[in-house]
């Protein structure tokens, strides 16, 4: 079975917001809404650290990390369990997705999601340019929407937009059930944690903290499983980010 998951190497992340912006563009996310956000762990504002400068011979305590945050595609997803009409469901490949034709807009899923990953179309969604961007149909007023791991791309054998557009190769997407996949290897070999692990949601998004990984190995925008054997990952060969 395929079970897609995402590894985000916070040591590699440079906080450039490329994933957030490319997500918005690829998925035609309305103005004023974000499916994917790059949060600053540190100060009260974006791109600001906590702590203070070195003074009077003391060590400084400045500290800052970036935490890209979108739908965590939980194994035990509360949003799936609360949806009264089966509009939010887990696909066979583990991706948590919404049927926008079924959603009644009760927003119980937004109450259920501990990550605030979901947004609701409070009014008629506005797009710039008006005809929208990317390859995903716009969602109507009155439904909830969120990150889909770019299931429309995954279905065509392509990595999610945020993954191929990460210039730091900090995002690695792949099959957690496949032992030789890069995501499986990184989850096994590096110290990873998941957001709000104590809530028991069992997210499929892992964050590497501490030792930096070699990052996303493949050079194309294809899914790792679509690559030829000789181009297989493991050792980071020539990395060039990837293009889309």
């Amino acid at each position: 079975m395929t079970n897609y998951g995402l590894v985000i190497d916070q040591e590699r992340c440079i906080g450039c917001q490329a994933c957030a912006v490319s997500c918005k563009q690829e998925n035609n996310v309305p103005m004023g809404q974000f499916w994917n956000r790059v949060l600053t762990e540190g100060g009260d504002k974006l791109d600001t650290p906590a702590g203070g400068y070195p003074e009077d011979g003391d060590d400084g305590t400045l500290d800052m990390h970036y935490q890209p945050t979108a739908c965590q595609h939980c194994e035990n997803a509360p949003c799936v369990k609360v949806c009264p009409v089966n509009a939010t469901y887990t696909r066979d490949d583990g991706i948590v997705e919404i049927d926008y034709d079924k959603c009644i807009g009760c927003r119980y899923c937004m109450a259920a999601c501990p990550y605030n990953a979901r947004v609701f179309n409070w009014d008629e969604p506005e797009h710039v340019p008006e005809e929208g961007t990317g390859d995903v149909e716009a969602r109507p007023q009155g439904v909830v929407e969120k990150c889909t791991f770019c299931s429309h791309r995954v279905d065509e054998g392509l990595d999610p937009a945020c993954v191929v557009n990460c210039p730091a190769d900090a995002r690695i997407f792949g099959d957690l059930d496949e032992e030789t996949s890069t995501v499986s290897k990184y989850v096994n070999n590096y110290e990873t944690d998941r957001l709000l692990e104590d809530r028991g949601t069992d997210p499929k998004t892992y964050y590497i903290r501490g030792e930096m990984s070699p990052g996303r190995p493949q050079t194309s925008d294809k899914l790792e499983s679509e690559l030829d054997d000789d181009a297989m990952p493991g050792v980071p060969a020539a990395k060039s980010g990837g293009d889309d």
Binding site: P30, M31, G32, Q33, F34, R37, L39, T40, E41, G42, G43, D44, K45, L46, T48, Q67, T69, P78, K81, V82, C83, P84, V85, N86, A87, K102, C103, I104, G105, C106, R107, Y108, M110, A111, A112, C113, P114, Y115, N116, R118, V119, F120, N121, W122, D123, E124, E126, Q141, G142, V143, V144, L195, L196, R199, G200, T201
Partner: protein, 434 residues
Amino acid sequence: MASTESSGIAVPAFGRKGKLWLGLLGALIVAGLAAWGYQLTTGLIATGMRNVFSWGLYIMMFVLFVGLSAGGLIISSAPKFFHSHRYEGFARLGVLVSLACITVAGLLILPDIGRPERLYQFVTSPDFRSPMVWDFGIVLLYGALNLWYLWLLTRRDLAAAGSRLAFGREDTEAGRERDRKLMFWTATVALPTAVALHSVTGWIFATQIGRGDWFSPLVAPVFIAKALVSGLGLLLVVAVLADRFTRFRVDREELASLGKVLGIFLAFHVVYLLAAERLPHAWANHFEFWAITGSFLIGESAYFWLWTVVGGALPLGLLAIPSLRKRVPVIVTAGALAVVGTMFEGIRLVFTGYEVANIDAAPGISLGGTYAGVGTDIWATAGSYTPTLVEVVVTLGIIAVGALIVTVGMRYVPIQQPDGQRSYATDGGHEDTT
């Protein structure tokens, strides 16, 4: 419709005041419909809700009215279950009030959802893991049960009065005997259904790991307790108002006795259950004796104080003082305060869930409000909420539907048990409800 002196009809005809009251309710309902229509075209942007604080007044009032619908049915069915005649004077009015409240609760869901035209999905594509599906079912069942029970309690009297609402039933001694048995069996179904209704509504919140205090096994028992408090409080207020404005007559002793019961419910709810909920947290989070005590006793928000003092300690005090608690105005005040307190408890519950975001790193969560060009602050790291005029008008309109149900019920259904007490003279056919 027949409405003779002996029919038990509380409002034989609408007088001038009665028509004024109906006009007011009609105006509120029309205004509510207009506001809902406006909200349907603009979207829920017309409300104060946004992405962080995504449930508001409609859900807060839903919780309140589900609770309010408890009192009447329980007061009328619990004695029947034990083959007692206690509080019989309240039985019919109680079920009527319950029916009105559960209707209000059900209707409040309509404006809350983004695409009400897809409600049929509850039937065609339900996920039985969702507490909302259970609640949908139990609210419908409870409403149907109230309707059936009200008819069962009154159909022989309706038949005796020649009302078409008897639907062909006749007033025979054998029929009344059979109905008494049916009432017992209905009571045996009604009581567990009421318990299930309030528990399931509590579990909508209590199952959620992502919203602070919601995730607590105590929520369901607390919902039962607050249903008893607020439901009985409302019934006492409505009964006294009906006594004041219609031919319905309240038995003063039963009223005083139910006042005492309300005091017991309040003590159990606001003193005992709240203490049981707060003590473990206060104890675990603090070290010094006075720090534990302070954290146990002192709440964190205005809603907490409105609930515990205005809606808890004050009515409890009124009902505890022997020289006061038999006075009708005191009972009405205590009942009304209990309802207000329960309302603020529900408001507080929703606030504790949404005020704090679990992950509140900058810049936060996109709110999803109107985007007004570069410079619009679309982010929030915490939830905040103020209902808009649209939400208030829609809510008032729906509550007016409930008041209309009670009013029309008093006009066409014999709400007074026809036995002896109805011979009170009255000054005219006026009526009122909350």
